[in-house]
Amino acid sequence: MPPLATRLARLPLAVACLMGLVGAAGATRAAESKEQFRVCADPNNLPFSNEKRQGFENKLAQLIADQLHETVTYSWWAQRRGNVRKTLKAHLCDVIMGVPTQLDMLGTTRPYYRSTYVFVSRLDRHIDIRSISDPRLQRLLIGVQLIGDDGFNTPPAHALGQQGIVNNVVGFPIYGDYRRPSPAARIIAAVQDGQIDVAAAWGPLAGYFAKHAPVPLRVEPITDTARFAPLRFQFDISVGVRKDDRGLRSTLDVIIAQHQPEIDALLRSYGVPLESTGLGGIQPASTSATER
C-alpha cells in the first residue's frame, strides 16, 4: 500500500481536493497492508461472496483494488455473531465489502447500493403480494429468514409476528447448514419446490437465486411498511472499515462515486433489486416480476 498521498494522486485532482479531512490513518494502513487490498469475507455466501470469488462483493473488491493498483487478499470467515470483532477489528483485513450504512460499530463509506426486503413466489402461483399487510398473508405459508441473535430477526419476521401472523410462518436460519453451498439460499429453494408459498427475504439474496432458479419466480419489493417503524425494510449498503480508518474510507468514497454506473451494472447482473440511494448516479430499477 503506497502512502495515501500517492494513492490520491492516482485519482482525479478535483475529487482528491474534496477530501481535505483525510488524516494519517492511511499511513498506518500502509505499514500494515503492503500493496494489498485486504478483505474479510464469508467463503460460502453467494451472491455476496465465496471462496471462488464469484460473488458481487468479490467483483467489487477487485474493481476497487484495480483502481488502487493493489492485489485483493482475503481472510475468509463465516459471518456469525462476533465476526466483525474477530476479523476487521482484529486487523485481519481492512474492509468488509457489504454492511448497512448505519451500522454503528464500523466506519462506513457512502452507500453503493440500496436494496429492499422482497416477497418471492413462483410466477405460476400468481401471488402478486407487495404489501406486508396483504390479507392473503394470513393464510399463505410464508418463509422468513431467522437470525435469532438475542431474539433479533429479519424485519418481515417481526412485522408478521406483530400482526399475529405466526402459525403459517416457517423459519429458515440464515446460518443454515454450512456444509452446503450458499446455506442461506434454502429459503428460495423452498419456494421453487412448493414447500412454502412465499418467502420474505433480503433482496440481493432473493434476486440472485430467483434469477438462477429452474422455474420462473416473482420478486416483489415489500411495501406498506411505515407503520412497523422503527423496523425498516430498505437498507443502504456501504463498504465497512474500522472507525478510525478515515483515510481509507475517503479513498473508497471517491472510487465508489466515480464508478457508480459500473457498480450498478454489476449488481443488476446479479439480479439485485435496487432502489435509489438518493445520492444520484442511479435510477431505481424496475422492481416488477422477474420474467423469464
Binding site: D42, P43, N44, N45, F48, W76, W77, A78, Q79, R80, R81, G82, N83, K86, T87, G98, V99, P100, Q102, L103, D104, M105, Q145, L146, I147, G148, D149, D150, G151, F152, N153, T154, P155, A157, H158, L160, G161, Q162, V166, N167, V169, V170, G171, P173, I174, Y175, D177, Y178, R179, A184, W202, P204, L205, F228, P230, L231, R232, F235, I237, K243
Partner: protein, 619 residues
C-alpha cells in the same frame, strides 16, 4: 518455593504416604466414582461431587494460614482464550484441557499433580470447520473421569475417551455437526457408566438435547430433546410434573406455534447433578430460540426448564419451567446444588438453583415443587414467583420488544448469574455464589447485519446495577433465605467458587485477582495478581507429598470479555461514552492467558534444607 524444592519434598513424602494413595488396581463401578468424589485427596469431576458442592474437606489451608499461600508450580495450556475448565485430579494425576483454539484445539494434558511434571498430552484432530462457524464461544468447561478413562467433549461435537495411563484415544463418537451451528462446551458428567453431555448453539437454530454415551463402547444410549413430542423428550407414563400447566401430552409441541419447536433452542451447556439414592439426574435447559418472542406465542416448553431424569433410560420424572415464554434470554443451564435442608421444621431433599432470572429457587427434588424463590440480586423484570403456579409475575413495563425503548431492566439479558458455579459448605451451611450485577437499557433501531442480511436490532446497553459495581461474590443462607455477606467486584464474577474444610472460600476476578476469603464473614484473607483475568473453576486436592493444593486456570476471553464491557458508572450510558469507550475497560486490566496455577502453603522450615535452597544451585 521453587519447583525443584517441591519435587524433592514430594519424593521424600511419597515414600511415607504411598500406601495411602495407591489407587485400587481394578476397574471401578459407578458407585465407586461417587465414593471417590468424597475422597478429598482427589477432585474427580468438575463439580467435585454429584451434589455439585465444590466443597473439599481438606483443612491444612485455613483462615489462620491462607495468607501465606504461594504459587508452587504453573503450566501453560498453550491457547490464549477464555479458560473456564476445572482441572481434575485422580490419584495424583491432574487432567486439564485448553479451549478450542490454537495449533491443538481442546488439547488435554496429564500432569503429576504434586510436581507439575507433564506425563502425556492428547490433541484431538478437529475437522477444521470454516473459521467462525462456531459463533461465539471456544471455551470448554472441563473433562470427566471414570474407570481409567478421561472423557473430552470437543467444541466440534465429538466425545472422546482417553486412556489415563498413556493418553491414547480409546474411542470417539460424533454427537452433532458444527456446520449446523451445534457445539459442545460443557464438562461431561459420568453417571453409572454413562457419559452425559449436552449441546449449545440455540441461537443458530439448534434444537437442544442431552445425550448419554456408554463409557466403554462409545455408543449413544439415549438422547433427550428439550422440545418436541413426548417420545423425543423421553416423557412417558411415569412423568409427574408438579404444576398443572406442565401436565399434558406433547407440550413440547403444543406450547409452540406449528413446527416452531423443531428449531426451538433449549440447549444444555451447563451442569448436571445426580442423586444416587433417588437415581435421578437434574439439569436445566437453555432459552427458546432462534425465533423472536412474538413469533413463538406459548410457553415454549421445555426451554428454561429443570428436568429430573432416570440416568439409565433418560426418562423424565418431573420438569419445572423457570421462565415460560422467555423474552430475556434467561438460559437456566446454571448449576443446582443437591442438599437436605430443614424447611419449615422438616428435613427436605431439595435442590437450590441460582436462577438466571435473579431468584434463588429451593425446589423439592423429589416432586419438582418450588418451596421458595427469593431474589438474590436487583430484579425488576419480574415482580416475584407465584408459588401456586410456579410462574414468574411479569412486569410489563420492563418487557423489551422491537419498537419500544425500555430502560433500567434488571437483571440484564445474561441474567443475574450465568454458568459460573456456586459452592456449598456443610460446615457453614452457606452457599457461595459468584455472579454479575448488571442492568440494561434496551434501545431499538440499531442496524445490524449477519451474512449479508441487514436488520433492525437493539442496542443492549449494559451497565452496573445499583451501587455501581458489576459483580458480586456472596454467601447465601438458604434456610433463612438471606444474604449473609457480600463482596462487590468491579467486573462480573465469572469464575466458579470453591470452599474448603479450612473455612476458606476461593474465587477469581476478571481484573486478575485470585482471592481467598473467610467463609464465615467474607473477610479477604489473601489475594494474588494472576497472569490474566480468571473465569475458571478453582479446585483443591492433596498431593502425593501430603500437602493441600489449590489449582485454578487464568485466562480471560470470549463472551465474559464482552459482558465486562458494561460500564462502571450507572449514570454513564453508551450514549455518552460510546461503545468503543466502554471497550477500553477490561483491556486496561488484562490480556488473554492460558496459565494453570497451583498453590500451597510454604513447607515448614524445620526439616533439612531443601536442595533448591542451596546458593548457586544449578538445575
Amino acid at each position: 518455593m521453587t519447583l525443584r524444592n517441591s519435587n524433592a519434598m514430594s519424593g521424600i513424602v511419597l515414600g511415607v504416604l504411598a500406601v495411602l494413595v495407591v489407587p485400587p488396581p481394578v476397574a471401578l463401578s459407578a458407585d465407586d466414582l461417587n465414593a471417590m468424589s468424597h475422597d478429598d485427596k482427589s477432585w474427580v469431576m468438575a463439580p467435585k461431587d454429584y451434589a455439585n458442592t465444590r466443597y473439599s474437606g481438606l483443612d491444612q489451608i485455613k483462615v489462620e494460614n491462607v495468607g501465606k499461600l504461594q504459587l508452587v508450580w504453573s503450566f501453560s495450556v498453550g491457547a490464549d482464550r477464555g479458560q473456564e475448565a476445572a482441572p481434575l485430579i485422580v490419584n495424583n494425576t491432574m487432567f486439564v484441557v485448553g479451549p478450542y483454539f490454537g495449533v491443538h484445539p481442546n488439547q488435554v494434558f496429564a500432569l503429576d499433580a504434586t510436581t507439575g511434571a507433564l506425563k502425556w498430552s492428547y490433541a484431538p484432530k478437529p475437522n477444521w470447520a470454516a473459521a467462525g462457524v462456531a459463533c461465539c464461544d471456544v471455551v470448554t468447561r472441563g473433562l470427566a473421569y471414570d474407570n481409567g478413562k478421561v472423557f473430552l467433549a470437543t467444541l466440534d461435537d465429538y466425545l472422546v475417551a482417553i486412556n489415563t495411563e498413556d493418553g491414547q484415544e480409546l474411542w470417539h463418537t460424533k454427537l452433532g455437526d458444527i456446520n449446523t451451528g451445534e457445539t459442545v462446551t460443557m464438562a461431561p458428567l459420568v453417571v453409572k457408566g454413562k457419559v452425559l453431555i449436552g449441546n449449545s448453539g440455540g441461537e443458530l437454530g439448534v434444537r437442544g438435547w442431552v445425550t448419554a454415551v456408554d463409557e466403554d463402547s462409545g455408543k449413544i444410549s439415549w438422547r433427550a430433546y428439550a422440545t418436541g413430542p413426548d417420545k423425543d423428550v423421553l416423557i412417558g407414563q411415569d412423568f409427574k410434573p408438579f404444576y398443572q400447566d406442565q401436565q399434558g401430552k406433547d407440550l413440547g409441541v403444543t406450547s409452540w406455534p406449528p413446527d416452531k419447536w423443531k428449531i426451538g433452542g433449549g440447549t444444555m451447556w451447563g451442569w448436571i447433578q445426580y442423586d444416587p439414592d433417588a437415581n435421578l439426574i437434574y439439569y436445566g435447559t437453555g432459552n427458546p430460540a432462534p425465533w423472536n418472542s412474538n413469533q413463538r406465542p406459548g410457553d415454549n416448553l421445555w426451554t428454561t426448564a429443570e428436568f429430573a431424569r432416570n440416568p439409565d433410560t433418560g426418562r423424565a420424572k418431573w420438569a419445572y419451567q423457570y421462565t415460560p415464554h422467555d423474552e430475556f434470554d434467561y438460559d437456566e443451564i446454571n448449576e443446582s446444588v443437591l442438599l437436605t435442608l430443614p424447611i419449615d421444621g422438616k428435613d427436605r431433599k431439595i435442590l437450590i438453583h441460582v436462577g438466571r432470572n435473579g431468584y434463588m429457587y429451593v425446589i423439592d427434588r423429589m416432586s419438582g415443587e418450588v418451596l421458595s424463590a427469593t431474589p438474590y440480586d436487583t430484579i425488576n423484570a419480574t415482580r416475584g414467583i407465584d408459588l401456586k403456579t410456579g410462574r414468574p409475575i411479569k412486569n410489563e413495563e420492563k418487557t423489551p420488544s422491537i419498537g419500544r425503548n425500555v430502560t433500567d431492566v434488571c437483571p440484564n439479558a445474561d441474567g443475574a448469574k450465568d454458568w459460573q458455579p456456586s459452592a456449598w459448605s456443610p460446615r457453614t451451611h452457606l452457599l457461595y455464589v459468584p455472579h454479575q450485577h448488571l442492568c440494561m437499557n434496551w434501545k431499538t433501531a440499531e442496524v445490524g447485519y449477519i451474512a449479508g442480511t441487514p436488520y433492525v436490532g437493539a442496542t443492549v446497553d449494559m451497565f452496573a446495577g445499583p451501587g455501581g459495581y458489576r459483580g458480586e461474590f456472596m454467601a447465601w443462607d438458604p434456610v433463612q433465605k438471606e444474604k449473609v455477606w457480600e463482596i462487590h467486584e468491579n467486573f462480573p464474577v465469572w469464575s466458579g467458587a470453591l470452599v474448603t474444610g479450612g473455612d476458606v472460600a476461593f474465587y477469581g476476578t476478571m481484573d486478575r485477582f485470585f482471592k481467598a476469603v473467610n467463609a464465615k464473614n467474607g473477610n479477604l484473607l489473601w489475594q494474588m495478581r494472576t497472569p490474566s483475568g480468571i473465569i475458571a473453576q478453582p479446585v483443591s486436592y492433596q498431593g502425593s507429598d501430603g500437602r493441600q493444593y489449590i489449582a485454578i486456570l487464568s485466562g480471560v476471553g470470549g463472551w465474559p470479555g464482552v459482558v465486562a464491557n458494561a460500564e462502571v458508572d450507572p449514570r454513564v450510558r453508551n450514549a455518552a461514552l460510546g461503545f468503543s469507550g466502554a471497550m477500553q475497560d477490561l483491556p486496561a486490566y488484562t490480556t488473554g492467558g492460558s496459565t494453570l496455577m497451583v498453590f500451597a502453603l510454604p513447607l515448614p522450615e524445620k526439616p533439612a534444607t531443601p536442595p533448591a535452597a542451596r546458593p548457586g544451585g544449578t538445575p
